[in-house]
């Protein structure tokens, strides 16, 4: 674990894998819940957790470097199910990357349990991990200027669902009617870091 100071009151804690980042994030949330960590934002990402708005960053940095990272916590949270029609325009390209027939993409994707590693890009956009590394896919060579809301997409090791229409370079494999973000709802975000997710196949229109 490497602790990097960020400005006056933030720390970026770097670990060596996504699983370690997940374990560190869970441990930091636990400390905040028990009242031993005072911080404005805890932002997990691919290999790091950012702690922003700390009262005493130097003391926490010293503490963290002396701590053993606890193991990944048990998967206590319930699974969010997202219905998907596997009708995306990049389904054939993804099948080619994976070296499987097109219909196999849906099977592999729906048999995987995902976890929200972190959020970013847009409110409610989660970076979901769970697919084995052999299913990593590159981004599109040319990003689309408008990806429709509800598009289920792949890039690198991640699956994501576009909460609203936006430009994007991910490979689109399907569509969902699930509402990823609704600020009138509590909570506004369907997915937050740590959420377990399964995609459930839905018949085409």
């Amino acid at each position: 674990m490497k602790v990097l100071p960020v400005g006056e009151d933030a720390l970026l804690v770097e670990v060596s894998s996504g699983d370690e980042a997940q374990a560190l994030h869970a441990e930091l949330l636990r400390r905040r819940a028990e009242g031993s960590l005072s911080v404005r934002e805890i932002v997990p990402a691919a290999r790091t957790v950012l702690l922003d708005g700390l009262d005493s960053p130097a003391r926490l940095a010293a503490e963290l470097t002396a701590t053993e990272l606890p193991p990944v916590p048990p998967r206590a949270r319930e699974v969010v199910e997202i219905p998907v029609r596997y009708d995306g325009p990049d389904l054939a390209d993804v099948a080619a990357h994976w070296g499987v027939p097109e219909r196999e993409v849906a099977r592999i994707h729906t048999e995987t349990e995902f976890r929200v590693a972190f959020c970013g890009f847009a409110p409610g956009f989660g970076y979901l991990t769970g697919l084995p590394p052999r299913y990593d896919v590159p981004r599109r060579g040319t990003p689309r200027t408008a990806v429709p809301a509800g598009s289920v997409a792949l890039a690198g090791p991640y699956t994501g669902v576009y909460p609203r229409s936006s430009p994007g370079g991910w490979q689109l494999i399907g569509t969902t009617d699930a509402v990823l973000w609704d600020h009138a709802r509590v909570p506004a975000a369907l997915l937050s870091p740590g959420t377990r997710v399964r995609f459930v196949p839905e018949a085409g229109p």
Binding site: V6, E41, P44, T48, L50, D52, A61, C119, S192
Partner: protein, 292 residues
């Protein structure tokens, strides 16, 4: 009370509703947002008799004009500008009574970029995640003002202004930004770090509420490749592939993959919000936090 409202007559280049934003939701991909020049927003609220953190208007370069449907106390500060009520000049940086139906015109910035308009009672649009701020990156909060927009106003709290006029810093002729290096200064060559701390940059016209873009010496990386996405803080100086530093302002993305060479002190960011395109920028290193 339905007559407690402002009718937007001239929305200007970009006028938004701003308060202190919505910090605390970065883990969901929600930017903090909020007034770029926080001290100016606080000042107009004090002058208008509002509690601090009340929603105000933030204009960009050429001001705006609004017509209150009932009499209100307003105050304009931030970027210096000509302020008129029904064509008659009134004070800038001081409380002004505007009668019902009169036209308050906030003129173009004489210097600086962003003027703040505080109105007694505050702008009372529906809050989103506890804030009324317009977030231009993610689209949360009310859209930027357009001509004809009607903005509801809150009830005045009856708090009297504690100051009549208040001195304010002039917009900077040169923008000096104190930075602490890191967390990713190791991604740059020693020459690039020297160039960053000794070169003169200029504020680019492509700057906005998301970031202050600069023009100047391109910073060369010591290592190629991509950094996995990581959390970003306010004031982070991110260096995209073109090598020109971008200082993250209130609407910045919550995660990013370009290396952050340094972080600007929060106290220097209000001045960054008032630096017009072309303003010289210097980054000055201050000691970073020591961690073992």
């Amino acid at each position: 009370m339905t007559d407690r409202a402002l009718v937007v007559v001239r929305s200007g280049a970009l006028t938004t509703v701003q308060d202190r934003g919505r910090p605390g939701h970065a883990h969901l991909g929600v930017p903090r947002s909020g007034a770029l020049d926080g001290p100016a927003a606080d000042l107009v609220n004090r002058l208008a008799g509002n509690p601090s953190g009340t929603a105000v208007l933030e204009t960009t370069l050429n001001g705006c004009a609004v017509r209150p449907r009932s009499a209100v106390t307003v105050a304009v500060a931030g970027a210096p500008c000509r302020v008129t009520v029904d064509g008659r000049p009134v004070a800038w940086g001081a409380p002004v009574r505007v009668p019902a139906g009169a036209l308050l015109d906030v003129g173009p910035a004489v210097s600086g970029v962003r003027a703040y308009v505080g109105v007694s009672g505050g702008i009372a649009v529906e809050p989103v995640l506890g804030s009324r701020s317009t977030d231009l990156l993610s689209g949360l909060g009310p859209p930027p003002l357009t001509d004809g927009t009607v903005l509801p106003l809150g009830r005045p709290t009856g708090v009297h202004a504690r100051v009549d006029v208040a001195p304010q810093p002039a917009p900077p002729a040169e923008l000096v930004l104190r930075v602490t290096l890191g967390p990713r200064d190791g991604w740059f060559t020693p020459e690039a770090i020297r160039a960053f701390l000794s070169g003169t940059y200029r504020v680019s016209a492509a700057s906005n509420r998301i970031g202050l873009r600069t023009e100047g010496p391109a910073l060369e990386r010591a290592q190629a490749g991509e950094l996995p996405s990581e959390g970003m803080v306010l004031g982070a100086v991110q260096v995209p592939p073109d090598g020109r530093p971008v200082v993250f302002l209130a609407d910045h993305p919550t995660t990013g993959g370009y290396p952050v060479i340094a972080v600007v002190r929060a106290a220097d960011l209000p001045a960054a919000a008032q630096a017009v395109p072309g303003t010289p920028v210097r980054f000055v290193a201050v000691r970073r936090l020591r961690v073992c």
